[in-house]
Assembly symmetry: D2
Homo-oligomer: 302 residues x 4
């Protein structure tokens, strides 16, 4: 199958929860309004940032339905269906297709992780067959999944077996491999840049789309980076990229970008609540100093 | 709470499946008959060997019910409820308690794994609270879970927070730490030896119970090791331990002990079928030479 | 101290040896002539590519003397003095200064590697004090040294303790950290890009100098990348960067870039001989097909 | 060649230094007197504990000469010659043989570590050929060397290539592999147990000799463990093994067993001075509380 490549910014949204950790999906329409106002191209839901694997299967379906209800041609919903069970992921993929998602994505299995590309392809093929008509994106994020196999080999071996393979959400710093994936098979594959803080490298090597968690609250900064890059103003793009680095430094310091990013959403008007275990939420005093540091930096306002 | 410690051998059973990968729980009563004949003290189900996390939540419940139906005072059923979601694991623990399991066990979360003992305790506390009246065993297996935190710290920090904490299924080669756990709090904790091929070390350091996958088909060999160890015949125990090493060498060679062990079960009269992705089953020719090697070794017959 | 930053390409040369693995330093003048013709800014000798730690201390001094003899204002010699012994490295640093080197570099210790930045600083401070008047470059290459500590912290903590600290040879894919280092202390530090195959990312983030092993035989390709980048022709730069990726793919395939790069040097007129243990040289048939693949690719001719 | 296996305890001595980090080899005769009084079978010098690779080549030779001068038939000196350079290690091995050492040992190379057993054998073969008439021990310590290859394969592939191969100093917790090595080739190889805190496991699996750093100051405790083990008194052996664990807990807490063990030597009458970088010595206040904790534990007095 041939799919159109995704262009622009895809947010990896936080999953709105209440104080007690239960879902708060009623917030999703407002969340989407904000993202559409920020001109996002869509969302990649229930992934790492979305605490996908911290939810039950039923919860993941409920969340997917709410996001998909807001989908438009210019605001695509990609549903991450990865789990430790290919059967569960197959069911989530089928549900995504039945509910009308634009595409599905799947991380390599984090339990009994495959040690060969062939085994990874087998796992993904079963999952992808649950949503045969939708583009399938492999979610390459070795630092989280522990699955660290060659993506060039993966594309080559998956191509004949997964007819709906569209590309890779590439969240890895091996930019040699990103170049190889971008050039493979005459540039056929859609390789989405996955590290917000290195977006400029992704652009330099030819990526057209990107998925990220800080796009939830500072998309305009990244749109400016893309626009400056496209008009040859590298100096300006570099300067704004460093602004994103400064924000991400703060996020990392406060229990990492999922916890701190989710916490920050309240400041931009979308109260997404707290994170689930095994993530650790901030204490009150951490929260206070976090908000102060973020407000002092303030680059997301641009 | 104070729980009696487990003594003797606990099998980590394979989950019976059909050729197409669907469950075959009808086989469980026969499986139990064999294990009881081999004088096993019980089973630790739906763990690593049991492909627990490769099943959906509903499947895990079905499997648990079938094993628990065969439980007796001398044949205990411990239900592994670990998953990437503390909420799902809580529900599985509650189901285990309602269904009458002897105990529950839980691996550290394999996704967004905690980096501090406190965070691990928080995760486990939520899970354990689903089965408040049952002994709770933490399943320490860093090579599989990627959670490699101090078990001495864990016991110390979990003790006041998890009232039903009983001990640890200790599947790690750090025998200094095993000694520390065995001696902590005046020997209060039940530390189960987890590596079949090093059972003798566990015994030397004072472990009384063990959980293992090769107990499914060569329990008599290990019973002889324990008996020889207890009567001071180390030379004989060492000789039999090396026999288990020779079998495990073969298992490891043929796609690891889950795939090859499950395959071997048919040879001892319990056809457990195939493994699910991301595990890789043997090809026909691999299968043939595997059976030949196992039959040539033949130590499990003793 | 304030040192001028290095601009342009620094080769990490191979150490010329004979067939029996003994040194062949007589070749160095011709080697330098080639590099000067290719307009290199200098060399970083006795590092990873130069098999520095595979030589004895006396050999390292002999090699350093020969390179330094060819030094000019526009062709700088940086001597890597890293070893497992700070005392040995101190002596090599002192020798480098006495012999007239431009600068010294030092990798984090690969044996009993420090686990804190403070300990790394202590080690480097002793080494750097052997060459007090020369710029000192820390050589950050976690994939080889196993020393994977924060370079931002290192610069902050080393600055007051190592007066001759000049910067970092940054051979790591963490481009967030590279940006942080480039911006720290108002851009004071000289951060040299270390991965040839990702030079374009280094340029995008603001690096002005680069150290690499493929600069030994395809410097013109990289000079073109820099020139196209500087004139805003990213598309051309990207195309040439991908050419370097294609060559490096071949190098990696044939026992890695040290062995294959050294082998290739003969084809460009500088017969550098073989590598020492624990590196593994090519067999004759590997050599044949390697040369064929390289000639077919041929991008280094541009 | 056939060598007699080593029986009993081999200390891995600290290298005596002065306050300024220079060698203090004049202390070695007194050191030996203490070890002989403690009925040690010999020493394994210049290894991890002996800071071998933190010294220059000349220093290592000086240290070796002083220890070898005290050698007797019942007090063997094994010289560790491992380094990053096979050539330097070859020279150290030759020096050891010329000076009259009993045996040499060599760690896998910590820089550009081999990824195949064949490459490791090649490296070791060159080193071992420097001392053709002496037993050669491979020093397997993956946690320090980073070389984590199969020791069964190593023995099989090295046997025909290294005629003076005697066995392995096995400092690894994989006791399945230790059993395999002990049984390989009809028990031909001398496999020395390397973890003091798990000596009882080594004994259970059949090891006859052991190398350790805490043997420097509490050999009688370990001799009692061996004696109780040999007479079938496992309970007593286990109790004393746990005493060693309690001491090692303290050592680990104070900058690890090299730094704290070396510090402790002064308390038993042999002032070995301080450690070199990259090791970190204790502050004065750490030192005070360390001594207090050790004196309170006091198991080494037995």
């Amino acid at each position: 199958m041939n799919f159109k490549k995704i262009e622009g910014l895809i947010a990896a949204p936080f999953t709105p929860m209440k104080g007690d950790g239960s879902l708060n999906t009623g917030l999703i329409p407002d969340y989407v309004t904000k993202l559409k106002n920020d001109r996002l191209s869509g969302v990649f839901i229930c992934g790492t940032t979305g605490e996908g694997m911290l939810m039950t299967s039923d919860e993941r379906k409920e969340v997917a339905e709410k996001w998909i209800a807001e989908q438009t041609e210019n605001f695509k919903v990609i549903v991450h269906v990865g789990s430790t069970s290919s059967k569960q992921s197959y069911e989530l993929a089928r549900h995504a297709q039945e509910t009308g998602a634009y595409a599905v994505g799947c991380m390599g299995p984090v339990f009994l992780s495959p040690s060969t590309v062939e085994d990874l392809v087998d796992f993904c093929a079963e999952v992808a067959s649950g949503a045969r008509d939708l583009p399938f994106y492999y979610y390459h994020i070795p630092s989280v999944s522990g699955v660290s196999l060659s993506m060039v080999d993966f594309l080559q071996k998956a191509a004949p077996v997964i007819p709906n393979l569209a590309g890779i959400k590439f969240t890895h710093t091996n930019f040699m491999e990103m170049q190889q994936c971008l050039h493979l098979h005459y540039g056929k594959w859609d390789i989405l840049s996955g590290f917000d803080e290195m977006l400029l490298a992704g652009l330099a090597f030819g990526a057209k789309g990107a998925v990220g968690s800080t796009f939830n609250f500072m998309a305009p900064l990244y749109e400016q980076i893309i626009s400056d890059f496209n008009t040859g103003n590298i100096t300006a793009a570099r300067k704004n990229q460093y602004k994103s680095v400064k924000i991400i430094e703060i996020l990392v310091k406060y229990h990492g970008a999922i916890v701190s990013g989710k916490t920050w959403m309240k400041s931009v008007g979308i109260d997404c609540g707290k994170c689930r275990y095994p993530l650790k939420n901030m204490t009150e005093s951490e929260h206070e100093s976090f908000i102060k540091e973020m407000e002092a930096a303030g680059f997301f306002d641009m």
